[in-house]
């Protein structure tokens, strides 16, 4: 138990891109050194910690849960406790180079409004979400008739924080409707506690567990 604790301390003290969740590793790889970054729903600050220490990024996080905010500040990050939908409103236009919304879009009540705010305060946005059209999900629904439960979306219908189901194709359609540009997209399949994974290029909407999109302001 004691050894475990020591290991945990060492692991938070030394940020390492390889120790991040696989989707966060990809997001981290997209961000240039010295960028100004806002992470919406930053949790304990794992991604920001790596970006700060390894890429000298100027990081800010917003997180709702007091204990996670506490842990982030304790590890030397600048993090605000609050609701992402409200907190984002205070920043002047183009305050950040990147605004990250990682695995949170499916929990947002007004996604279009949030994405617009995100692209107002940031020059670019990075949005990731679990892909609801993965073949396992399709198969579960088809064969069992129950609402699907997977590693990526592990909740029963009645206790899930995920109020929306999104597919990779849906997000592309959403970009056209809302009027923002998709600058880059990567579909991934994660294994081994989500730390490792593969990039899926063949039939991503069917085979990927997550979609990650780099987005920019549209022409409108």
């Amino acid at each position: 138990m004691h050894l475990l604790k020591v290991f945990w301390i060492v692991s938070i003290e030394k940020p390492d891109i390889k120790k991040l969740r696989f989707d966060l590793q990809i997001i981290a790889s997209w961000i240039e050194a010295g960028s100004k970054v806002l992470d919406l729903g930053c949790g304990e600050g794992a991604l920001l910690h790596v970006l700060k220490e390894k890429k000298q990024a100027l990081c800010t996080g917003i997180e709702r849960v007091e204990s996670k905010v506490g842990q982030s500040i304790e590890r030397g990050l600048s993090v605000l406790q609050g609701d992402i939908n409200e907190e984002i409103l205070d920043y002047p236009d183009d305050t950040f180079d990147y605004v990250i919304l990682s695995q949170t879009l499916q929990q947002v009540y007004e996604p279009a409004k949030l994405i617009q705010s995100l692209l107002r305060v940031g020059k670019r946005g990075i949005v990731s979400f679990p892909n609801f059209s993965h073949w396992r999900i399709r198969l579960q629904l088809l064969l069992t008739g129950y609402a699907p439960i997977t590693k990526q979306l592990p909740y029963e219908w009645h206790d899930t924080p995920n109020i929306r189901v999104i597919t990779i194709k849906d997000f592309r359609k959403f970009s056209r409707e809302v009027g923002f540009d998709i600058l880059k997209e990567v579909a991934i399949n994660t294994i081994n506690h989500e730390r490792r994974g593969n990039i899926i290029t063949f039939h991503p909407n069917l085979r990927a567990t997550y979609g990650i999109f780099l987005i920019g302001k549209g022409k409108k």
């Binding site: 506490g70 990050l77 600048s78 205070d90």
Partner: protein
């Protein structure tokens, strides 16, 4: 708020400290106060903890609240019954680590713990000032602290930390002397004293002034307005607690009895507690200082004084990094007031962290042992220490 002070349970302490005094504004160069009056000479009592490093870059200025003093931590004598008021936070290896930082705390202008206040001798009359003492503001307190730092040869501080009225001083520092502090930690405070807070202060002041021994503030040669001051303190203590903390701490439990007494003695534990706190307070605090300091906090409105009514504009002058902390059950300076601060900082592009700590102990929570608060302050200071090239 001294009721919580206890010896460190692990025996960790900054050790023996002494109170120092700095006097400036000797006539005819008196200090010009914000209300236009002059005051001099001005003496500021202060204490320091830890070692100042060679380039004077490890300074932390702690700002105390209404009834506090310069004695943040440690002991004056080995047999002192209690250490300083924030001994749980300031000391070797603690949240504010005196092995690393040089901590300074001074008694505020208008107080009665060694700095010039209404109980000090007026050089013109050679008697205590009483109500001849000019009205001082939070801004005046901060300007006196700046004089002290100039005297100590300190040009920049690593961090400013304070709760409640101490937090108001932190905020005042940031907009009045921008660039002077690398960072600031305003705790359980507000940028603008609310009608609720003013109302409680006014009732407390009326209690003092209604005491026949107050005699227009000229009581120093006779009996003091102890009853009035005790009632004022009782009111204060109600605002420092919360519905929840009183329910947990006292409930409707009776004090040393099985049944109601059917007279006006203290039946309930909460009555007994308030009476005790009131009586204890008059032993160490001056009633006129209470009047002056509460009035200074009522006058405090950073937005009006520095931003023509806009808090965003007030902070446009400020720099540095911030950690703002509020407590869920604080109804004297509720979280929305801290959030207004945070919002103004964000709108100015300032680097700000904010945490609303879940605590049931009301406004007093910032003085109580709290692992979260300890870790937040420690982590934040560690970060700004590293970011300033250490």
């Amino acid at each position: 708020m001294s009721e919580y002070i206890e010896h460190d349970k692990d025996g960790i302490s900054v050790g023996l400290v002494e109170k120092n005094f700095f006097t400036f504004a000797e006539p005819p160069d008196e200090m010009l106060l914000e209300n236009g009056q002059k005051l001099g000479p001005v003496t500021i009592a202060y204490e320091t903890f830890g070692q100042l490093n060679a380039d004077k870059s490890n300074v932390i200025l702690v700002l105390h609240a209404l009834s506090g003093d310069s004695h943040v931590a440690g002991y004056y004598h080995e047999d002192d019954p209690k250490p300083g008021w924030w001994d749980i936070m300031v000391g070797p290896g603690k949240g504010i680590d005196t092995d690393r930082y040089f901590v300074i705390c001074s008694n505020i202008l208008g107080s009665c713990m060694g700095s010039t206040g209404p109980s000090s001798i007026n050089p013109k009359t050679e008697k205590p000032y009483g109500l001849d003492f000019p009205f001082v503001t939070i801004g005046d307190m901060v300007r006196a602290q700046k004089k002290l730092l100039d005297h100590l040869g300190i040009k920049k501080v690593l961090s400013l930390i304070g709760g409640s009225i101490g937090g108001m001083q932190v905020l005042e520092w940031c907009v009045r002397f921008p660039g002077m502090a690398f960072s600031a930690i305003p705790l359980a405070t507000t940028a603008r004293h609310s009608a609720l807070a003013i109302a409680f202060n006014e009732v407390a002041r009326q209690a003092i002034m209604a005491d026949p021994h107050w005699r227009g503030g000229n009581y120093y040669d006779g009996q003091k307005p102890d009853l009035g001051l005790a009632v004022a303190r009782m009111i204060g203590h109600i605002t420092y607690l919360s519905d929840e903390s009183m329910r947990l701490k006292f409930g409707r439990r009776l004090q040393d009895k099985e049944d109601f007494s059917f007279n006006f003695n203290a039946d309930f534990q909460v009555e007994s507690y308030l009476r005790y706190q009131g009586t204890k307070f008059v032993e160490r605090f001056d009633a006129n200082s209470f009047l002056y300091i509460t009035k200074a906090s009522d006058y405090f409105a950073l937005d009006d004084q520095h931003g023509s009514g806009s808090l965003v504009e007030a902070f446009s002058k400020a720099g540095g990094k911030y950690l703002v902390v509020s407590f869920t059950s604080d109804w004297l300076y509720p979280t929305y007031q801290s959030k207004a601060l945070v919002q103004a900082m964000k709108k100015n592009g300032l680097d700000v962290s904010f945490c609303e700590i879940e605590a049931e102990w009301g406004h007093d929570a910032f003085l109580l042992p709290n692992e979260r608060l300890n870790a937040l302050i420690k982590g934040f200071l560690d970060r700004v220490y590293r970011e300033t090239g250490h």
